[in-house]
Symmetry: C2
Subunit: 383 residues, 2 copies
């Protein structure tokens, strides 16, 4: 198995791009990544996307993107794992290059959510949950997370406001990311007063969806010119859990996060204290707490403590959501996993501006599909 | 890159399974493949599927299938390339094993098409074409193929009835396949009298869709016990073409089929005359002709000649659709690519009964997504 490096990154602003289609967004990210890497083409494109069939009436995105970007003929297909589709596409591109099947590949994430009624988007997102046991009972995706958060508050005795730090940190960081959807700071007062969506989740616990595309260009590490600054993929692992939350032994424990993180740590030969930056899947603030616990940064039930102690900022003990996270950069679902890894690359390249984590050498990204059902963890290392 | 073998196969009957859901069909195929291989679990499941979000309101199929089959925790995700989703899932499973990421994987194809109105299925299938330049203009998927066939008749001077042999052969073979949807022979008279769907394509030029699931279990060839009869994956390649047919230099030439076939031939070190059985993508009879030409079995424009000369049967020069093909086994779109490879395995194991190709040692399967936009070719070899 060959070691693989990321040598190019590209992204679009996350926003409601009413005037732009899937291919247009995808093209911008792909061309940016090619330009960043100083290349004109690659041998394969693997497209992470969840909703194109339902919301844009377009499948076969691999051929669409290869065609639109002038790379007709190359291998290309779509990969889906709900909101973890981006990381699943990266896994696929990684295996394509590490196996020797090809010498260059792009992992692309693209999502177009703003071309229909909001109710249709909500219904489409519910397909990430168990259709027969959750969605058909009227549970929307936010409602499932609300039940989890409610139980968490009850079991561990936290107050809702104890979660404010997650959202405040994400928004503070997004102010300095020109690709973020919500480039504005929020206060604890804003958080407390935010409109309730599905109790106890309020508007500032939830990430905004959006349209966006992001791309990573992968090559074998051995192909790098000596002296080229490179970011290596040191760990990559995926795990699943039961699709329906009620079927889990402990609905407050992300078993798939624990499994995939442990595998990735072992591959990279690191432990939590070696991770300088952690881009986690803060689709809802409760998910930040659960991810920190499952990945070994906090004791079970103690995730909010890191927020309360102010340890999550770029200069803190466990920097998370350093470019805004899902909460403020935005959550174009099938693209999110690529944005996360791209942001870790920016940190390791020291291109993160005012939210740069000092001396960042090892970073981790974790992408979650469904309510903890499909979890992918990637660890990157500055060469 | 490690050599990979297929040691287990499983499938469901292709039919309108009104009483069975996606997970139920998937489970039957997975359990059959595990049993066939004498295994209880695998490290990864890669699910080929096109329509689950649109027709069953269910995405995140990787977690769904891992969960339902009692393999919670393993890596699993969905792969999509329209009607070539099955072969794309096989590519992914192959790369997972050949790269060393895992030592066993299942490539699963599953599709559930019979749970909604036929018009919705037709609309969902149209997402395989270019939404902005084809589907939005009112072109259904069969209509695109009809335009291609019409042009082919005009350019090369064939009559519609010259294509009868493709469908007659497929149906004759399906009679002996208990997993086929249409286990009934047809005559040339039936073909001539079949109801027109989209001129010049009539009902017996077109494959029936259906519900079904099929699975292949892959392990490194080096892990095989000595003496175990094994089927090796000797070639695997994918290529794309422009998504919209009108954008191609020659709409009557499957450039992506030519590219992926040539790559697979080179990997397997074979040429067309070495292929003992060819499971091609006969979604429409015109596609059989175009595939035979692009894969080097017929001159350009001369595909129908093989049908007219009766060379396509199991004892013929170029045996195709030996278990019924898409035309008569049925076309559960995202599962089809796995059914094709499974049928090649049956031939190489000499388990094909009355339609056994004598002394079959090398077989090829070709799966097409969209109207020639995404084409995957696999070559298998009896060890």
């Amino acid at each position: 198995m060959r070691e693989v490096a990321i040598i190019g990154i590209g992204q679009t602003v996350v926003d409601e791009h009413w005037d732009r289609s899937l291919r247009d967004l995808a093209g911008e990210a792909v061309f940016s990544a090619l330009q960043d890497a100083g290349r004109e083409t690659v041998e394969g494109v693997f497209v992470g996307n969840m909703l194109s069939g339902m919301l844009s009436r377009q499948e076969n995105l691999g051929a669409l993107v290869a065609d639109w970007t002038g790379m007709q003929g190359i291998e290309a297909y779509k990969v889906e794992a709900a909101c973890a589709s981006g990381a699943a596409a990266l896994r696929t591109a990684l295996m394509a290059v590490s196996s020797g099947e090809m010498d260059s590949a792009i992992a692309l994430g693209v999502e177009k959510m703003a071309e229909t009624k909001a109710s249709e988007t909500t219904a489409a997102l519910a397909t990430a949950a168990d259709a027969e046991y959750e969605s058909d009972q009227g549970l929307s995706f936010v409602a499932i997370n609300a039940l989890v958060m409610q139980r968490y508050l009850y079991e561990y005795g936290w107050k809702h406001t104890d979660f404010a730090g997650f959202s405040i940190n994400a928004h503070a960081n997004a102010v300095h990311n020109s690709f973020a959807r919500l480039q504005e700071a929020i206060t604890e007062e804003d958080y407390r007063r935010a409109r309730m969506i599905s109790a106890p989740i309020n508007l500032l616990d939830a990430s905004p969806t959006g349209d966006g595309a992001a791309a990573l260009l992968l090559v074998p590490a051995a192909a790098l010119r000596p002296g080229t600054p490179a970011i290596l993929i040191a760990g990559s692992a995926a795990a699943t859990d039961s699709l329906a939350v009620h079927a889990r032994r402990d609905p407050l424990w992300l078993a798939a996060a624990e499994k995939s993180t442990q595998r990735a740590y072992a591959q990279a030969r690191v432990s939590p204290q070696d991770i300088d930056v952690f881009e986690l899947h803060d689709a809802f603030s409760i998910m930040s707490a659960l991810s920190l616990e499952a990945a070994g940064f906090a004791e079970r039930g103690q995730g909010p403590r890191l927020a309360l102690e102010g340890e999550l900022g770029p200069k803190g003990r466990v920097p998370i959501s350093t470019r805004g996270g899902l909460k403020a950069r935005g959550h174009p679902v099938g693209a999110t996993g690529i944005y996360q890894v791209l942001e870790v690359v920016q940190q390791l390249r020291e291109q993160a501006g005012p939210t740069q984590v000092p001396e960042a050498r090892i970073g981790m990204a974790q992408n979650i599909g469904g309510s903890g059902a499909s979890i992918f963890t990637h660890i990157l290392r500055r060469a």
